[in-house]
Symmetry: C2
Subunit: 204 residues, 2 copies
């Protein structure tokens, strides 16, 4: 435990929770396991998150959502156009999957599927995060010349392809779905741009 003193306890708990929740789900992860993984005393979990597991999960989902959004915006900002941005993002996802033995995928998907029908508070958190991502892609699509109505639809489709690719890749333990879906997502973006080319370049 060398760096245990450098990173604040609250952040260690948050980080360990994020990793465990996204790999094992909400119900499959215990607070004791989180405390152990975070090298934090059990009592500290309730000290920093008085609302218990629910508040912790809510924070984890929203924090992970912001992080993933920032990741997308960084990649999109560095890419010359939207199709390239989407392709790069999928490629990065495939790399991460392979590097973590198909454990680290979407930061909220596993929990989202699990609690959608049973836990309204957390469902709302996942919905907010998804909407924030959709908004970013939609904005970039509009900036790239896609009409408003199509932009929303395009964002939904691209995000769905990504989420589906995460699930299939993790289940099949291959990046084959992610690779195939990368091409499909880029194709969807391209066809939306071809249909209404107004400002061919510009991203973010």
């Amino acid at each position: 435990m060398p760096n245990a003193t450098e990173i604040p306890t609250r952040d260690r708990i948050l980080y360990a929770s994020a990793e465990l929740f996204r790999r094992q789900g909400y119900a499959g992860t215990g607070l004791k396991q989180i405390a152990t993984e975070a090298r934090a005393p059990f009592g500290s979990v309730y000290h920093f998150f008085p609302g218990g597991k629910e508040q912790l999960a809510d924070d984890v989902l929203r924090t992970g959502g912001r992080f993933f959004l920032a990741l997308y915006e960084a990649i999109a900002g560095a890419a010359p156009d939207l199709p390239t941005a989407v392709g790069d993002f999928f490629a990065g996802a495939a790399e991460t999957l392979e590097a973590t033995d198909f454990a680290d995928a979407c930061p909220i998907a596993t929990v989202a599927g699990e609690i959608a029908s049973t836990h309204e508070v957390l469902r709302q958190a996942t919905a907010d995060v998804f909407e924030s991502w959709l908004g970013a892609v939609e904005r970039d699509a509009i900036a790239a010349g896609v009409p408003r109505e199509q932009a929303r639809s395009l964002a939904l489709s691209v995000l769905a392809v990504l989420e589906g690719a995460f699930l299939l890749s993790r289940s099949l333990k291959t990046t084959e779905p992610m690779d195939a879906c990368a091409k499909a997502a880029v194709a969807l973006v391209r066809s939306a741009l071809i249909q209404q080319p107004t400002t061919p370049e510009a991203t973010t």
Copy 2:
């Protein structure tokens, strides 16, 4: 409990498990809840599934997989071509989502995401089921005139879009993602057919 005597206990357990697993996930569903929901004595669960929760889940996943495959094949068999079949399937999914208050989606997705990194036996079960679905779509795509290499890729993309649409629709509690993804999936199929039109009709 009127029909409790008509349907065999084993089937009632299987059916109740399928419903609960897909809505609440594997870890989030208890065997006691399953027994209660199935109107079966608790001991019967272990009588019919001596392997316990794992064997029960394995059976549920594979049975649900066969059921969903049959559903696809029924829809595909009734449709005049592959794009129509895919569109009809997505439309049916949207209807089911709305009718069940966004609870009933993919029979295995929730569990698949949850156990992919933690439960090798069940991960293999979900992988087998996904492969069976991919095989069916791939076969239909080839029959419709899509080249072999593209057919596999198309099947992966279409399934990913479907799974992603399920997740987003359940989280956002709208069929908007499913509706948008239906169009995207049909577009993907169409573009694969246009690129190599050999036998424009024929499905299944």
